[in-house]
């Protein structure tokens, strides 16, 4: 489906990735998301038009409940908008089947969550291998190698046999980042990745993401409540009540 799957992840020099900067990676056109429960109708996103270019590092801010997580879940193809079109890498995903969406998520997108979402019954290595499990044509050995390489990047190669419960919060988030990296995605979506960490650990994680964006050209969209973090990124988008305000 995508012949240039891991292109940007494989490009080591920054100059090459910067030349891609004006090609859109994620495009939201007139996006609307309404949550319909029995009695209440919540408009989480209201006519959002937004383009994230390749190699950009964008942060999203806004008060609680303004629709940031909803925005990320739509960009990550975890949910469908009630109106509008999403384009990933130039292609509209509106008519995609469950299988095609799963494949796209697996190949293109890495997720990082506020509460890490590691599987407690799996070792660090097994957790990092998870996205590779859902990718066809990889041998066990290749998976292991990639997972080790990803753990190396986040500086956790000494902890592969540990279980999540034996790690600190910062270490857990680094495992989650390694998991997102293992599949060599072009996009990383991070929902308050430092929200559960103290400022020292938060800075560590932020540095990791910045390095990833600079060195590998990974497109990153990060939701944060921390102005300092947000100002380290190239672009800051503010949301209020389901709409982009700046």
């Amino acid at each position: 489906m995508e012949p240039t799957l891991t292109k940007s992840a494989l490009l080591p020099d920054a100059a090459a990735s910067i030349s891609l900067k004006n090609t859109p990676m994620i495009k939201l056109l007139d996006i609307e998301k309404v949550y319909q429960t029995d009695t209440i109708e919540t408009v989480a996103l209201n006519r959002v038009n937004l383009t994230i270019n390749k190699g950009e590092f964008v942060s999203v801010m806004g008060p609680s409940g303004c629709g940031k997580s909803t925005l990320l879940s739509l960009m990550g193809l975890l949910d469908e908008p009630t109106g509008g079109t999403i384009e990933i890498d130039g292609r509209s995903v509106t008519s995609y089947s469950d299988r095609e969406l799963a494949r796209l998520r697996n190949h293109k997108i890495g997720f990082i969550f506020q509460s890490f979402h590691l599987i407690n019954d799996l070792s660090v290595l097994d957790n990092v291998e998870l996205p590779l499990l859902y990718r066809a044509g990889l041998s066990g050995k290749e998976r292991r190698q990639r997972a080790h390489a990803a753990l190396d990047k986040v500086g956790l190669s000494a902890r592969t046999r540990h279980f999540p419960s034996q790690l600190s919060g910062g270490q857990r988030q680094r495992v989650a980042i390694a998991r997102a990296l293992a599949g060599a995605p072009e996009i990383i979506l991070a929902d308050e990745p430092t929200g559960n960490l103290d400022s020292v650990m938060g800075d560590e994680i932020m540095d990791l993401l910045l390095g990833l964006n600079r060195v590998e050209g990974t497109t990153i969209v990060m939701v944060t409540h921390d102005e300092n973090m947000a100002h380290k990124t190239e672009r800051l988008i503010r949301f209020f009540d389901g709409s982009q305000v700046s």
Partner: protein, 397 residues
């Protein structure tokens, strides 16, 4: 993916162990029920070893009349034999086919080897014409036996198997353990399962006891006659027979039942506990199913975040459902394997005298039931798992 499944199951061994134990226990209970049902069905399928159609059972009750009993019974038998419509008459002990009485003994030994628990029947030369057991070696009793030095007996193949193994039994002499009484085997019949359609194929022995010759009825012994009649004989012959008996015996009470009726009555009584057992087993299965269902349901609710995460990582809905079914299949197989190991001890130890094929069929049946049960119970929860939206991973618990 299979490795991943095993890793997951191993890392969750504590909760999976509980599930496995439940499956193992359920397997075992189902195995026990299966053994009962299968062995009864198995017996039901076996030949009875005699023909009961067109055989009547005449119970004759002499009441207070103790005078010349033996003579009168012999006279009745001679009269019946000459009655048109009657094929043959035999006198036997009270443990007639499908009756509620048994007469078993372990008195027969051979060269110091103790005999099996054996059902003993009184028989005469004509019994072979009435019940038509299949003689497979030697012969049935006849006139020649009147002059025999040792009382002749006929045994069934099960008796031979238990006492002689591969040796040919005809002509061998059986003795009591104190050596005081002796019998000589003159023939072997195939099987003789007279208790009911569900009776197992147990050792049997026939003692030659001819009323006309020597034997005398004990004071409290009730003569029982079995009469083979022509097919299609009915009420007319029955009235005739009762009248003949009354004529000769003057006031004895005579009762006629067909063996067909007796078989039917016995079958009903034997079926009642089996049906009760079946109902209990059914409730048990429902209980096990609800238990399994609850555990799986709970499991999937516990793992919603994991499911959402896997979906976000690229698992499809059907992939998630396959994972849950796969996990269940592995855990069930481990439980069943444990159960089979336990259950296999019964045929290996030869416990309860149940035939090995019955145990094997019961194991297969129990395993099939467990797999069906878990498949049914896992189906709905895994569908629910497949339907969990990937977006739940972004929602914090």
């Amino acid at each position: 993916m299979i490795r991943h499944l095993f890793t997951l199951i191993w890392n969750r061994k504590r909760s999976n162990f509980l599930l496995m134990s439940e499956i193992l226990l359920s397997f075992f209970v189902l195995f026990a029920v299966s053994v009962l049902l299968v062995s009864n069905y198995y017996n039901y399928q076996q030949p009875l070893g005699f023909e009961y159609e067109n055989v009547w059972e005449l119970s004759v009750n002499p009441g207070q009349d103790t005078l010349n009993r033996t003579e009168k019974v012999s006279q009745i038998m001679r009269r019946l034999q000459s009655t048109p419509g009657v094929v043959a008459v035999t006198s036997t002990s009270s443990n007639t086919p499908f009756s509620f009485s048994t007469m078993n003994t372990t008195q027969y030994t051979y060269k110091g080897k103790g005999g099996p628990l054996t059902e003993r029947y009184d028989a005469d030369d004509d019994m072979v014409k009435v019940l038509r057991p299949k003689v497979v070696a030697g012969r049935w009793f006849d006139r020649r036996d009147a002059a025999a030095t040792r009382p002749p007996v006929v045994v069934n193949q099960k008796f031979v198997e238990k006492l002689f193994g591969q040796e040919s039994p005809v002509g061998k002499v059986l003795v009591t353990s104190d050596g005081k009484e002796e019998w000589q085997i003159v023939g072997v019949v195939e099987t003789f399962r007279s208790g009911s359609d569900f009776a197992s194929n147990d050792p049997a022995i026939f003692d030659r006891r001819i009323l006309q010759d020597s034997a005398v009825l004990g004071a409290y012994e009730m003569p029982v006659l079995l009469v083979r009649v022509q097919p299609g004989s009915g009420a007319v012959l029955e009235q005739q027979v009762v009248k003949d008996i009354k004529d000769i015996s003057k006031g004895w009470i005579a009762k006629v039942n067909t063996l067909q009726e007796n078989r039917h009555d016995k079958l009903k009584i034997m079926l009642t506990p089996l049906i009760a057992l079946g109902v209990v087993a059914l409730f048990l299965i429902i209980n096990v199913a609800l238990g399994l269902f609850g555990v799986l349901w709970y499991n999937i609710n516990q793992r919603k975040a994991e499911i959402g995460l896997r979906r976000a990582m690229g698992a499809t809905g059907s992939g998630i459902s396959a994972q849950f079914l796969g996990e269940m299949l592995v855990v069930t197989t481990l439980g069943v394997l444990g159960g089979v190991l336990l259950a296999a001890q019964f045929p290996l130890l030869g416990a309860f005298g149940v035939e090995t094929p019955v145990y094997i069929m019961a194991i297969v049946l129990a395993a099939l039931l467990i797999y069906t049960l878990t498949a049914i119970c896992a189906f709905q929860p895994s569908r629910i798992a497949a339907g969990i939206q990937p977006a739940v991973s972004l929602r914090e618990e």
